[in-house]
């Protein structure tokens, strides 16, 4: 869903235009056209537009995406725009499809919020939770090209030489159970930042996760939310992996578990509403040389239950404390019992 820009953002628009003019040498009379303000997503204010200007007497145009941190974002304690910018810079010239990031600015004087300016990659991001989106992915699955591209992009992510790409700044887990235990600790911390949470099923789940943490044999760059809806698609291929907010260095089965999760599909057996399970297993294992460990994936799916609770606690807290007026966040208070119900079933009750 997107809305055309109205008057309310005109000041910000002028500031973005001024900023781009200062950044692009010789850009005379730069102005923004075809402005869209997507309203999907939970975290950032996004501006998509074409910038046009005159350069040596001829008109030049270039598509941009500006992502602003409104200061009350979900996951705001875990992933800054600066981190996202650094990740995108590291991914340039790698096999992982990602937007090219041009500039990051933390100076609030420029347009009022920290922001990233990046390339507007061609493609669409159909919402997998709507009937139109589900139909889109169903039809794309039938054509047979996108499922392979989707799996390949995940394999490319996991095959990336993340040290060579400079991504070790994300933090490198130690051997053994360090990655899994670190993730549990990270999401516990997010919840504690949102306030004190007394949920006995959650407590049971966390204790179980700490007691059953698997060891990690191979470390990869992990996206952390790899599914349809977080990818741009162009001509039946993944043109960019988006939403670099939960990335980390860790166990590739963490992403695979997310792929396998039935949380990420609706009314279909297709993984992420798109990929036939057998095809995914065959291609992913062939391209990565990894064997999918379903027992580990079960563990990480339990971790996703914990993560979802943390996510919804944080989200509903933003509405409850007045940081956000978005009623979608208020609604998430009732998502917490749904996830706890699921967690209890996974734990056997």
């Amino acid at each position: 869903m997107s809305t055309k820009q109205g008057d309310s953002g005109s000041d910000r628009q002028q500031r973005i235009e001024a900023y781009l003019t200062s950044r692009i040498p010789g850009a005379d009379g730069l102005h923004m056209i075809n402005i869209e303000r997507p309203t999907v997503g939970w975290s950032h204010e996004i501006w998509l537009f074409d910038a046009v200007w005159s350069e040596s007497g001829r008109e030049v145009g270039r598509p941009f995406c500006v992502r602003l941190d409104p200061g009350n974002t979900l996951l705001r304690h875990m992933s800054s725009l600066e981190t996202q910018f650094r990740v995108l810079k590291c991914l340039e010239n790698t096999a992982v499809p990602a937007p090219e990031a041009y500039w990051y600015e933390s100076d609030l004087a420029i347009i009022g919020k920290p922001f990233i300016v990046m390339d507007r990659v061609p493609g669409a991001c159909p919402n997998p939770w709507g009937s139109d989106g589900r139909r889109y992915y169903q039809e794309a699955s039938g054509r047979g090209v996108l499922p392979g591209s989707f799996t390949q992009a995940l394999a490319d992510l996991h095959n990336l030489d993340w040290r060579a790409a400079g991504l070790d700044f994300l933090g490198v887990p130690g051997p053994g159970k360090d990655f899994a235990l670190g993730e549990v600790a990270k999401w516990k911390e997010l919840m504690s930042l949102a306030g004190v949470v007394h949920e006995p099923i959650l407590e049971d789940l966390i204790c179980w996760l700490e007691e059953n943490a698997p060891t990690t044999d191979r470390l990869s760059l992990i996206h952390g939310a790899y599914r349809t809806g977080n990818l741009l698609i162009h001509d039946d291929r993944v043109s960019a992996v988006l939403d670099w907010e939960t990335q980390c260095i860790g166990d590739p089965m963490y992403d695979v578990a997310y792929m396998l999760s039935d949380l990420n599909r609706e009314g279909t057996d297709l993984l992420s509403n798109l990929v036939p399970r057998d095809e995914f297993f065959r291609q992913y294992e062939r391209e990565t040389g990894l064997e999918i460990d379903e027992e580990k994936c079960r563990y990480y799916n339990m971790l996703y239950c914990m993560r979802s609770v943390a996510f919804w606690v944080s989200a509903s807290g933003l509405y409850a404390d007045g940081s956000s007026g978005d009623l979608r966040l208020a609604r998430t208070a009732w998502s917490i019992p749904v996830v706890l119900d699921r967690a209890a079933r996974e734990l056997g009750y």
């Binding site: 006995p200 700490e210 019992p337 734990l347 009750y349």
Partner: protein, 146 residues
């Protein structure tokens, strides 16, 4: 036939919220435009859930009290004449004194922390009994959340 005068002067809050939800969904949201439109529909959903939660609250509170009594009785029976680790002893006492989310969280933590000392059988017996109470509680919450 009921007349206007026969009705309660004050509409019960749950019923009022439910009616507001319908008004929001059928009269306000369809006539709203732009980014306010999905927010209006979401407001209808939130009001509907609040109404259901409020409507069920008295029955849920009664069931919760009954479940708490059973849990305390069973924990007392299961641990009677046993020498338990200090942490678990304190946590069971805490539940007996005030059976709520805080004390049950503490008990769950204590059980896992003392698992080795408790032994697998007693650990499983105590945790299973707690989980029965947790399942009943989440079933109730699912009645207004799902």
């Amino acid at each position: 036939m009921a007349t206007h005068r026969d009705r309660a002067v004050v509409t019960p809050p749950a019923e009022l919220l439910a009616r507001m939800s319908v008004t929001m969904k059928t009269a306000i949201a369809p006539n709203t435009t732009g980014t306010a439109k999905p927010q209006a529909y979401m407001a209808a959903v939130v009001l509907e859930k609040l109404a259901k939660q409020l409507e069920l609250a008295p029955a849920h509170a009664a069931q919760q009290a009954s479940d708490a009594e059973s849990l305390i009785a069973d924990l007392t029976r299961l641990t009677a004449s046993l020498s338990l680790p200090d942490g678990t002893t304190a946590a069971v006492s805490g539940v007996s004194a005030a059976c709520n989310a805080v004390s049950i969280c503490t008990l769950v933590q204590a059980l896992y922390a003392d698992r080795t000392l408790l032994g697998d059988d007693l650990f499983a017996a105590l945790l299973s009994r707690v989980r029965v109470a947790l399942r009943a509680d989440i079933n109730r919450r699912m009645e207004f959340s799902a």
